[in-house]
């Protein structure tokens, strides 16, 4: 059964319709890649899934339960089940690396500090930043900051990890360190929705890929189906352009 289901989901920024009848499901442990041109609504899906944007119509179901976006308590539940990693990392600039990872579990979820600290240190070690615990975000490279952001997301123990163009702001030589971290997570069975322009990576890591344009899922299939034998013209166009590079 699908762990995450989006049914006929539509959303708008003011009058601008950005999602238009999205149908998408993600199974537990599955990695789904979202690709498509800028402004196609990829990141907006992630904003809805973190409760940062309220959908106009349609439904979001997590583990079979439909989220009512009019109820703050249900938005909180949704946010407890998901964690997002932003393109610009969005680390708290006033806190050290360790504090960035620990603050939500200790202050929001009120978990025991000692327990959270052990977990946070373990996660930071896993992303290769054991030596940077006391550094501040502005003392780290972009790739390092992004790995802290991933550790921060993981420390929330999300059921679904949402990655929003996490390598788009990085220097090319820093991209691989972040991708390695995500590869590891996929191998461990983390449920993920990944928005990315790294086509090679999306192809390698995703079980399924959704090609989006103008707020719609134009085509959904295995990476081979989307990249090698796309059925829709729009997909063929997009993939053709990307692969020619």
């Amino acid at each position: 059964m699908a762990h995450l289901e989006l049914d006929n989901l539509s959303a708008a920024y003011g009058k601008l319709r950005v999602l238009d009848g999205i149908e998408l499901s993600v199974a537990k442990g599955e990695t789904v890649g979202l690709i498509g041109p800028s402004g196609s609504g990829k990141s907006t899906i992630l904003r809805v899934l973190t409760g940062l944007l309220k959908p106009e119509t349609g439904s979001v179901r997590v583990a079979g339960k439909t989220i009512n976006f009019d109820k703050p308590s249900e938005i909180r539940t949704l946010r407890n089940r998901t964690a997002i990693v932003f393109q610009q990392y969005n680390l708290f600039q006033n806190l050290t690396v360790l504090e960035n990872v620990m603050i939500a579990p200790t202050k929001v979820h009120r978990r025991k500090r000692s327990e959270v600290q052990a977990e946070a240190e373990h996660l930071l070690e896993k992303v290769g930043l054991a030596s940077k615990l006391e550094s501040y975000p502005d003392q780290l490279s972009g790739g390092q900051q992004q790995r802290v952001a991933i550790a921060r997301g993981l420390c929330l123990k999300p059921e679904i990890l949402l990655l929003d163009e996490v390598t788009a702001a990085l220097d090319p030589e820093l991209v691989s360190e972040v991708l390695d971290t995500i590869r590891e997570l996929a191998a461990e069975g983390m449920t993920m929705v990944i928005v990315s322009h790294e086509m090679g990576f999306i192809r390698e890591i995703s079980a399924r890929v959704a090609f989006m344009a103008e707020g719609k899922v134009v085509e959904l299939g295995t990476p081979a189906e989307i990249f090698d034998t796309p059925k829709q013209d729009r997909t063929r166009d997009f993939v053709g352009k990307i692969l020619r590079h």
Binding site: F86, N90, F92, Q93, N94, V108
Partner: protein
């Protein structure tokens, strides 16, 4: 010059110094009330203005009306309004109380805007990250936003505090015995304006200078905390 110092010497009697100290203390009390309580209430108003959702709109409306009203009305007029409001309400309170209430009202309105500007100067992505992790508004402000907003809040806040010490002189208009009032009394007792107000000038400087030093020190200390 000799007569200036001679006059100054004759002013320095026990009772005059005591009177001056009392005036200085009143000025300090007025300013402290306005700055500390004003800072506290101002922060609350700033936070109120950042709430969202229809449930809290009366809160936002109140905060907006309050800040806009008291920032626009001159100090002296607010002072008179308070004075007559207490009289009209039949409350028999001292002029010092009226002065304190006035400075808190004005301090709140001005500091609310300074704090709001500081909070909003922090990059929106910091708010979004906190929101996506289920921080409440107050948690976001306490743990994430305020620590990054200090560098924006402190310079204008301390500038305002120092202005405020001087503005509190207007309370003398309703008979609050603060520094300026003491100067007028000295002058009325026959001391020259130069000596009377020279002493007061020095006293104001001695009050505001340490405050601006403190401001600079805090700025330096908190400025090293990381901001984007």
């Amino acid at each position: 010059m000799g007569s200036f110092f001679g006059e100054l010497w004759s002013l320095a009697t026990y009772h005059n110094i005591l009177f001056l100290a009392k005036g200085a203390l009143t000025t300090i009390a007025l300013s402290a009330f306005g700055c500390i309580l004003g800072g506290l209430f101002g922060t609350l108003l700033a936070v109120a203005r950042l709430t969202s959702g229809w449930l809290s709109w009366p809160l936002r409306a109140f905060a907006l009306l309050f800040t806009e009203f008291f920032r626009r009305v001159p100090f002296l007029v607010t002072l008179m309004l308070c004075f007559f409001a207490f009289q009209f309400g039949g409350f028999d309170v001292s002029t010092l109380t009226v002065g304190c209430v006035t400075v808190v009202l004005i301090g709140t309105a001005f500091l609310a805007e300074i704090v709001r500007a500081g909070l909003q100067s922090v990059h929106p992505n910091q708010w979004h990250a906190a929101e996506a992790m289920n921080f409440t508004l107050l948690q976001t402000i306490r743990y994430v936003i305020l620590p990054q907003a200090w560098t924006v809040i402190l310079p204008p806040a301390f500038g305002f505090f120092i202005l405020f010490i001087k503005d509190s002189a207007l309370a003398s208009q309703i008979g609050v015995v603060e520094l300026t009032y003491v100067g007028k009394v000295f002058n009325n007792r026959g001391f020259s304006a130069g000596v009377s107000f020279g002493v007061i000038l020095l006293a104001y400087f001695m009050l505001s200078y340490p405050l601006s030093r403190l401001g600079a020190k805090l700025e330096k200390k908190l400025g090293t905390s990381r901001t984007r």
